[in-house]
């Protein structure tokens, strides 16, 4: 007769510990539903049946493989558990991914080394939210500081900037990865060895790459123009480098033209975002008021615009 505690239910702690140590292993965790099949392809780099797997068909093919690899079938996208699998990260993992995005190294693929093919939605979502609010807050603070230097500027809390910032950042961080993912899948026929990233991994890469802009935006409060542009260039270089190093292994086998076009488009869009944010949120003087470029404010020249509208406040 078996002992009572052998029949008792044991938590499978050993399995989760092993998984944490060797995350590249074919997973048996119930939370890792979406990624394993498609990323067996990427990790092994093998062609043939695995390489031909489509990520959308994971859910249908997952039925057979699920029986082998996992204990539970993958929950449908209408269930809460499906979305919970995208938030299956711990604090140290998020911090580790942020650190990885701040310091891109050539040859260290963000998806492979940091995400370990387990993307999460927590990072992209909250980094975008933080960046949107920080942009709005520091944009307003710049106005306040400009007003203290030059009291003729009329300050008012521009709350619509929060809306604009939010929409811009979220659209960038979600629509551009969608386009990139679509493009990479379209070109998949050219490549044989390395499968493309899933949509979530692309979103993850973009989301974490935006993190470097948060301290940059805060430092843009310092009203020294050359410092601002230098900081912006540095942040842009780090962020774009991270993106390029991540995308390089995927486009490497493509034709030179397509690879160059893709990478340069990615970098260009990133540059446009950075410059757009700088110019829109940190323009200290909106054109309806006394429109003076920031470096001329110190000279106190505020009569440049000949025809200001009637609501310009008292100028000196």
């Amino acid at each position: 007769m078996a002992a009572a505690d052998e029949l008792a239910f044991h938590e499978f702690e050993e399995a989760t510990n092993l998984l944490a140590e060797t995350p590249d292993a074919a997973t048996t965790s119930k939370s890792d539903q979406v990624t394993p099949q498609g990323h067996v392809a990427v990790a092994m780099g093998s062609s043939g049946s695995y390489g031909a797997e489509e990520e959308e068909e994971v859910e249908e093919e997952g039925g057979d493989k699920a029986a082998l690899l996992q204990e539970k079938p993958q929950p449908g996208f209408w269930t809460f558990g499906y979305y919970q699998s995208f938030f299956d990260v711990d604090t140290w993992q998020v911090l580790d991914r942020i650190k990885g995005s701040l310091l891109p190294r050539p040859g260290h693929n963000f998806v492979r080394h940091r995400l370990r093919n387990r993307p999460d939605l927590y990072g992209p979502f909250w980094i975008c939210a933080t960046l949107a609010f920080v942009l709005a807050v520091t944009g307003n603070l710049t106005l306040v500081l400009a007003q203290r230097r030059d009291p003729s500027i009329h300050y008012s809390p521009q709350f619509h900037k929060v809306t604009v910032a939010g929409i811009t950042i979220y659209c960038y961080a979600w629509l551009v990865p969608l386009a990139l993912w679509g493009f990479l899948r379209w070109r998949k026929a050219v490549r044989e060895r390395v499968g493309p990233y899933t949509f979530l991994e692309t979103v993850c890469v973009y989301g974490y790459s935006l993190f470097v802009f948060i301290p940059t935006v805060v430092l843009w409060l310092i009203p020294v123009p050359w410092l601002q542009w230098m900081l912006g260039a540095l942040a842009l270089a780090l962020s774009a480098a991270g993106l390029v190093f991540t995308l390089w292994p995927v486009v490497r086998e493509d034709s030179r033209l397509a690879a160059a076009a893709l990478l340069s488009t990615v970098v260009l869009l990133h540059t446009l975002l950075a410059m757009g944010c700088k110019l829109y949120f940190f323009q200290p003087l909106p054109p309806q008021q006394v429109a003076v470029p920031p470096h001329a404010t110190a000279l106190g020249v505020n009569t440049l615009l000949p025809a200001t509208p009637a609501r310009a406040t008292a100028t000196s």
Binding site: M1, A4, F87, D90, T91, Y122, Y155, Q158, F159
Partner: protein, 234 residues
């Protein structure tokens, strides 16, 4: 009898039998085995009680107001109590949100584009912010119910509403850097109070290795509300 089924096959390990002490208990018929199972959600006993149908409206309203007031006290002096979680209600958050949004209104003389947040914007930020934080905490694996979390987040806006009141009073005095420093100090203190109060209620429901991930959005939420309060100019 209970021990025979659990005799260990290996005498060296000697695990303790599961029902070891059971044979010593003699269940007599004098011990009442009945009672009330309290469900740790909103207490429904009141609703089934006929007498509340006949009471006066004043009693009903006062009971609800007292409940809201009691929860306000729990927020102002955050202890490890489960009153907020057990008897959640959304009246308090609604009252606070409406009060905050009304106080954040400025005169309509200004151009709309250049103004502070409109009533609808404050409402949207508070409620959708609370819903987003709740969803985030549930997705991370927290075991708090949806409305309990909304209740806690809404009630913990109370310190910031008090800060808004104080700021409005301070702004009646003459403007200047001292005015701003006073307002800044008050808002910072109330912001810290809000974050600490909500963390005291919410942090226990998260798995320990994800607590920071669940608390950070709360911090961001109250930071945005504090910023709206601080930048308010009449």
């Amino acid at each position: 009898m209970a021990e025979a089924a659990q005799s260990p096959g290996d005498p060296g390990t000697s695990p303790k039998p599961l029902f070891a002490g059971l044979s010593e208990i003699a269940i007599s018929r004098d011990i009442p085995i009945e009672g009330e199972i309290t469900i740790p959600v909103r207490s429904r006993i009141r609703e089934f009680d006929n007498s509340t149908l006949n009471e006066s409206v004043r009693n009903t309203i006062m009971r609800d107001l007292k409940s809201v007031g009691k929860k306000f006290m729990h927020v102002l002096y955050p202890r490890k109590s489960s009153t907020l979680l057990r008897d959640w209600d959304l009246w308090g958050p609604l009252i606070l949100c409406v009060a905050l949004a009304l106080m954040l209104q400025r005169g309509s003389a200004d151009n709309e584009k250049d103004g502070g947040p409109q009533f609808a914007e404050v409402f949207v930020i508070v409620w959708f912010g609370a819903v987003t934080i709740t969803l985030n905490s549930k997705l991370l694996g927290g075991n708090i119910s949806f409305f309990q979390s909304l209740c806690v987040l809404g009630y913990c806006i109370l310190p910031l509403t008090v800060a808004m009141l104080i700021c409005r009073l301070v702004l009646l005095a003459e403007q200047g850097p001292i005015n701003f420093m006073v307002r800044l100090f008050v808002v910072i203190v109330m912001f810290a109070w809000s974050v600490i109060a909500s963390t005291a209620f919410l942090a226990d429901s998260q798995p320990p290795n994800r607590r920071a991930l669940a608390v950070y959005p709360v911090f961001l939420f109250y930071f945005v509300i504090s910023w709206m309060i601080l930048t308010f100019t009449p």
